[in-house]
């Protein structure tokens, strides 16, 4: 469902060219739970941005659910972000001065779902992350762990193909971090595909597969346990 072929990303900063990703090949199958590790500057974030359709590769191809998205325009990419990608950020990125409910509703506003249906689905998603009693709270009235749970609920409402989590526990204490990872684990068991960027070993332990980056290349790609899903392939 995610297939990356000979993908490179070059940033030009003035005269200097920075190779953020060099000839990456990667497949992620449906239902996988992949951790991406590596030191900062290794290309993790660039990969996340490309997988999340926020950025376009310089070379190579990126297939999402069989569709080549590397050549799509901005609005088409926005549509894909809306329907197929769910983002969870280190800094939560909720809209301030808006209730948890409204934050969760937001993706559905852009996909044109009617208000009553939106509210119903948002409630359901919040219930799933155990925040039914906090739906009318604004982000500043919630703890870090609760905020991140709102962000996870926000990714769930459009039933995405993949959840991209960029250091989701980076701003959280250990206990809240564990709670968040338990939720991811649970979601994955229900069949949600998850790609997690982290540099913490114990967080990566929650996933089934760890891909390690260094200097824009994949240096290691190993399974923690055998995959049940045949479709999920390894890096070639």
């Amino acid at each position: 469902m995610i297939r990356i072929q000979d993908l490179s990303k070059v940033y030009s900063m003035g005269d200097i060219e920075v190779n953020a990703l060099i000839d990456i090949n990667l497949r992620i199958g449906k239902g996988e739970f992949v951790s991406v590790m590596g030191p900062s500057g290794s290309g993790k974030s660039t990969l996340m941005n490309i997988l999340g359709c926020l950025d376009k590769p310089t070379r190579g191809k990126f297939f999402l659910d069989g569709e080549d998205v590397s050549g799509l325009d901005d609005d088409a990419l926005a549509g894909i972000r809306n329907k197929k990608i769910g983002f969870v950020f280190q800094s939560f990125n909720l809209l301030p001065r808006m209730t948890a409910l409204h934050n969760v509703e937001l993706p559905m506003i852009y996909s044109g779902i009617r208000r009553e249906k939106r509210i119903k689905m948002a409630m359901k998603a919040l219930e799933k992350v155990n925040l039914s009693d906090r739906i009318y709270h604004q982000p500043n009235e919630l703890s870090g762990g609760q905020r991140q749970r709102v962000a996870i609920a926000r990714t769930l409402v459009n039933n995405p193909s993949i959840i991209l989590a960029d250091e989701p526990t980076g701003n959280l204490d250990t206990k809240s971090g564990e709670e968040i990872m338990e939720i991811f684990k649970l979601l994955n068991e229900e069949g949600v595909t998850i790609l997690l960027v982290t540099h913490e070993k114990n967080i990566a332990e929650y996933s089934k597969r760890i891909v390690t980056f260094r200097d824009g290349r994949i240096i290691k790609d190993c399974l923690k346990e055998p995959l049940a899903d045949e479709e999920g392939g390894l890096a070639e």
């Binding site: 926020l54 609005d75 926005a78 549509g79 809306n82 990125n93 909720l94 301030p96 852009y110």
Partner: protein
């Protein structure tokens, strides 16, 4: 995302920055309220001037000597001219009267007041309409016998005698170094028009006497310097006046020498209308400038808002907002700010016009079209000055925007 959702988002954003939104609106409020005030008072003023002319008589014309062409004694009009005009234009003329006016002084409350003494005939009240409240107007026998009788206005009666019923009293007018004594036979209501309401000037006060008496007192003989007329309502005023003028010219054999000049209230009214039109155009363009300034204020705040909410824009884009969704969100916000400013400004403008019109006694001429135009204009200002900031927001790169602190 549809307009309704954008409006909801925009109202939320406006509401969370109440003070700033109100201050931004202020520019639009001032602009719109001044446009509304100018239009309303301008229209009211034109209506008032129109009414002034109406009371004056739209079909009123004046034919007089053109003193700048040095008319000789043979050019001066006479009673035979009036008779000829009356005969020839019997279908067009409603009333005709010679008028000879001279200034004088009258002692009132031990101080001298300027008055005009006007010699006219019995038809004159069908031209310059005055409401007789005591006594009578001039009658034919006054003219024929050249009686030294007078009509004065109500305020003069009050000032001179302390009462309105002054029939049979005598007034003394000092004019041309001599005193003339006149018997009051009628009192007419003092006219209150636009000019006196504005308090610009004391209205001229008239004492009317028979033309024949004026001719004898002032020794002018059979000379007529001016003829006042009121034409029938359906005639072509200007062409009748031109024909009258050429007839008098033929009678005095001075055609083409421009010894006479004609005035019609109609053409005067057009001139006044043109002038008030120019004035209101000038004032409204000044008001329009304030609207533009208000619009720039809206743009400024929207730019601040876009910068402040860069991260919000990044989040919205990350979860699937397209360029046009962001564009619409900020555009709608700008339009709502200026539109609300427009509504408040309209209310203020109407209030101010009513207050001013009560003060200067001009009826306020509020029209739906003025309000619609002002309001559409303010919304237009919102779109025009909102498009740049909104486009700036829409073009933001989501990755950069998400990183923005």
């Amino acid at each position: 995302m549809n307009i309704l959702e954008s409006a909801r988002v925009a109202i939320r954003a406006i509401w969370s920055n109440k003070m700033r939104s109100v201050l931004t609106m202020l520019g639009i409020i001032i602009g719109i309220s001044s446009v509304i005030t100018v239009f309303t008072l301008g229209k009211g003023g034109r209506t008032a001037i129109g009414q002034e002319f109406e009371s004056f008589g739209v079909a009123r014309v004046f034919l007089g000597m053109n003193w700048s062409e040095n008319p000789q004694s043979g050019d001066i009009m006479n009673h035979a001219d009036i008779d000829a005009l009356e005969r020839t234009f019997s279908d067009e003329i409603f009333a005709i009267s010679p008028r000879y006016t001279t200034s004088g002084e009258i002692s009132m409350n031990r101080k001298n007041e300027n008055v005009y003494v006007s010699g006219v005939n019995e038809q004159y009240n069908k031209i310059e309409r005055n409401e007789i409240i005591k006594g009578r107007y001039l009658i034919e026998s006054d003219i024929n016998a050249a009686r030294e009788v007078a009509l004065i206005d109500s305020s003069m009666a009050m000032e001179l005698f302390g009462r309105l019923d002054v029939l049979g009293e005598r007034i003394t007018v000092r004019t041309r170094n001599r005193n003339i004594s006149l018997l009051v036979v009628g009192v007419f209501e003092e006219k209150k028009g636009l000019v006196s309401n504005l308090g610009i000037d004391d209205p001229p006060r008239y004492v009317y006497i028979p033309i024949s008496a004026a001719e004898r007192i002032f020794g002018i003989g059979d000379q007529i310097y001016g003829i006042d007329m009121n034409l029938q309502p359906d005639v072509d005023v200007q062409s009748v006046l031109d024909r009258m003028k050429s007839m008098v010219e033929r009678r005095h054999r001075n055609s083409g020498e421009e010894k006479y000049r004609g005035y019609s209230a109609e053409s005067e009214m057009e001139t006044v209308g043109r002038i008030t039109g120019i004035i209101s155009a000038v004032v409204s363009s000044i008001a329009a400038i304030s609207l533009v300034v208000g619009g720039i204020g809206v743009m400024n705040i929207m730019l601040v808002s876009v910068t402040e909410r860069t991260r919000e824009i990044g989040i919205r884009k990350a979860i699937g907002a397209r360029r046009r969704d962001i564009l619409l969100q900020f555009l709608v916000e700008a339009v709502i700010i200026s539109g609300m400013g427009g509504i408040i400004g309209t209310a203020f403008g109407i209030g101010i016009s009513f207050a001013i019109s009560a003060f200067i006694k001009i009826p306020p001429g509020i029209s739906i079209s003025t309000i619609m135009i002002a309001w559409l204009f303010s919304a237009g200002v919102g779109i025009f000055f909102g498009i740049y900031p909104a486009n700036k927001a829409a073009k933001l790169d989501p990755i950069e925007a998400l990183r923005y602190e």
